[in-house]
């Protein structure tokens, strides 16, 4: 079974500090890591490889430093890694990102299965997976919290608002996965060594055979008009051990003011 895993490098939110003036995150000097849900996707891919044999390939689009995320993927057990990195790719929205990833999947495939996290912790759109699948004409499933590979196809359980939906998708197909799918493993020492040595193939615009107008900012249907940094300033009313009665009265008054104490007529 040939499996591809789409991974994204995101800022390590545990290290992020806040700019107290602007209320924005200071990303400079902050480490980055593989988007957490992509690790669940990779874990599932490695499990299926163990079960059914085959290869796991990790693919990412990003700046040259994104190579680190791919090496981490290799350290965890991926067999191959491809990095899409080119100035022309910068500023891509989800459509232009999907276009480039879909093209790379075609160039390096065919794959039986493509996996990715349901969304990334930074952009949080969840759109790239379904867009890649659709551009490639692959059946796909989102919000997958369980999956198993059978000879007849990939069986998945989707977690949705009302409960679960179970589907069987024929190969090749794509699935985006949720946190509760599995517990991602940690890399072993031998894995880390391998990750450092293994080859990461770099792909630029000309390698893909795409036009500059199809990728990056110029290939993106959407444009950012402006970015605002909402400044949230709050006056904190502080109640210590001796003022707790007043503090509790303050909270009750707030609830009353917001009309949040009216329900629960049976109480």
């Amino acid at each position: 079974m040939k499996i591809a895993v789409l991974i994204k490098q995101v800022p390590d939110t545990d290290e992020v500090k806040m700019d107290p003036e602007k209320g924005t995150m200071i990303r400079d000097g902050v480490g980055s890591l593989i988007n957490p849900l992509d690790l669940n996707a990779l874990e599932a891919a490695l499990f299926l490889k163990g079960e059914r044999g085959g290869t796991v390939t990790v693919l990412s689009m990003g700046p040259p430093q994104a190579e680190r995320a791919l090496r981490e993927g290799l350290a965890l057990g991926a067999d191959r890694a491809h990095l899409l990195s080119d100035r022309a790719f910068a500023g891509a929205d989800t459509w232009a990102t999907a276009k480039v990833l879909a093209t790379l999947l075609e160039k390096t495939g065919p794959y039986d299965l493509v996996l990715a996290g349901e969304k990334a912790t930074d952009g949080e759109t969840g759109q790239v997976g379904p867009e890649v699948a659709t551009l490639l004409g692959l059946p796909f499933a989102t919000y997958v919290s369980r999956l198993s590979a059978t000879d007849g196809g990939l069986e998945v359980r989707r977690t949705v608002e009302e409960g679960y939906q179970r589907l069987r998708l024929p190969y090749p197909c794509l699935a985006t996965v949720l946190h509760d799918l599995n517990e991602p493993s940690m890399p072993t020492l031998a894995g880390k060594k391998r990750g450092r040595r293994a080859e990461v193939t770099r792909w630029g615009l000309s390698d893909l055979g795409l036009e500059e107008t199809e990728v990056g900012l110029s290939g993106s249907p959407t444009r950012v008009v402006r970015i605002a940094h909402p400044k949230i300033t709050r006056q904190t009313a502080f109640y210590g051990a001796r003022d707790l009665d007043r503090g509790i009265a303050h909270v009750v008054a707030l609830l009353k003011e917001k009309a949040l104490l009216q329900g629960g007529g049976q109480a």
């Binding site: 499933a141 444009r223 006056q235 503090g247 707030l254």
Partner: protein, 339 residues
């Protein structure tokens, strides 16, 4: 599609159809669509894809739709991303849509990216604001990014339609008006229903549904609870306020509570009217997921807890003493209201 189209068909809303029927978030979107369509002098069309049903569609008219495209087919009873997206793409293409909105639910967030890819246009996820730019007539789409620390305004200048998903409870439902519209049942080519995906079944999970986004009140707990049972106390308070229970990442990692409750960058980003945090010190990871709440109440033993700095009300002390007192005070207040 870079366009020969002109978008004269106006604003389209993809209805959220669940097993229980048309979900109320559809009415929110139809209300907003009415506003946008009026600004453009265009019509509002709602697309309803479902298995044959007796449920009336007229409420959609009363809240703003001029026209409903109703497709009823046994094969549309359960979401098939391939089939549903193909039909939606077909209908909005044929109808020359200028704007397409869908709820940012698991269904909308699955369907709309596929539609955007099929017709080659832009899509903005989880919008919290939508307005028409007076100068250009374009749709300005506002969405929070990186946990609400940044608000981005996005447009789709050269492609039609302009598409967005919108979180439920973002826009109010407009008061119903005495208006009617037309129901059209488009005949669809059989090829649109072609699929290789098989639905093996659906299970409802009663009472298990945890959807903390979009509720007015969230009562969250952190490691300061000291033990998993502490969440029962939070649940009691949340129930009293018809809210939900949230949690910090360490408590989820310790398996005190399940992941859907997790608030923060690696969980849910929430903006309730009241966010009460008990025993949460306030890592940036967590703050970024809740700091846009209307009012923040923090309960913590440590006077230096970072969460106090973003709180409107800080209660410093033992949460096992404070919360029961707060619960009593709320109960008394509610009883008085009923006497």
């Amino acid at each position: 599609m870079r366009t020969e189209r002109n978008g004269l068909g106006g604003v389209f809303v993809v209805a959220e159809v669940r097993r229980s029927g048309i979900h109320s978030c559809t009415l929110e979107l139809v209300s907003k669509a009415r506003e946008l369509a009026d600004a453009r002098g265009r019509e509002v069309t709602a697309i309803v894809l479902r298995s044959p049903s007796e449920e009336p569609v007229e409420p959609l008219f009363r809240h703003g739709a001029d026209r409903i495209l109703l497709v009823e087919d046994e094969r549309l009873g359960s979401l098939n991303a391939e089939v549903h997206s193909r039909i939606v793409a077909h209908l909005i293409g044929k109808g020359d849509a200028e704007i397409v909105l869908a709820p940012a639910t698991t269904t909308g967030r699955t369907l709309l990216p596929a539609v955007a890819a099929l017709i080659h246009t832009g899509l903005t996820a989880d919008c919290t604001g939508l307005e028409i730019d007076a100068e250009t007539g374009l749709l300005l789409q506002t969405r929070p990014a990186i946990g609400g620390n940044v608000i981005a305004t996005i447009k789709t200048p050269d492609h039609l339609p302009q598409m967005a998903t919108v979180r439920p409870k973002t826009f109010p439902v407009a008061p119903p008006q005495d208006r009617l519209g037309r129901v059209e049942r488009p005949l669809l080519d059989e090829s649109l229903f072609c699929t290789s995906v098989v639905c093996l079944g659906e299970e409802s999970v009663e009472g298990e549904e945890v959807d903390i986004q979009g509720l007015d009140v969230i009562v969250s707990g952190g490691k300061g609870l000291k033990r998993p049972e502490g969440f029962r106390l939070l649940q009691e308070l949340a129930d009293l306020l018809e809210g939900a229970v949230g949690a910090s990442r360490p408590t989820v990692e310790a398996k005190w509570i399940s992941y859907p409750h997790q608030v923060g960058l690696s969980g849910k980003v929430v903006a309730p009217r009241i966010y009460l945090a008990a025993g949460i010190s306030g890592a940036v990871q967590h703050l970024a997921g809740m700091q846009t709440a209307e009012t923040i109440i923090a309960v913590n033993k440590d006077p230096e807890a970072p969460l106090f700095r973003v709180a409107d009300v800080a209660l410093c002390g033992d949460l096992y003493e404070i919360l029961p007192r707060l619960i009593d005070a709320i109960r008394r207040e509610k009883e008085e209201r009923h006497d």
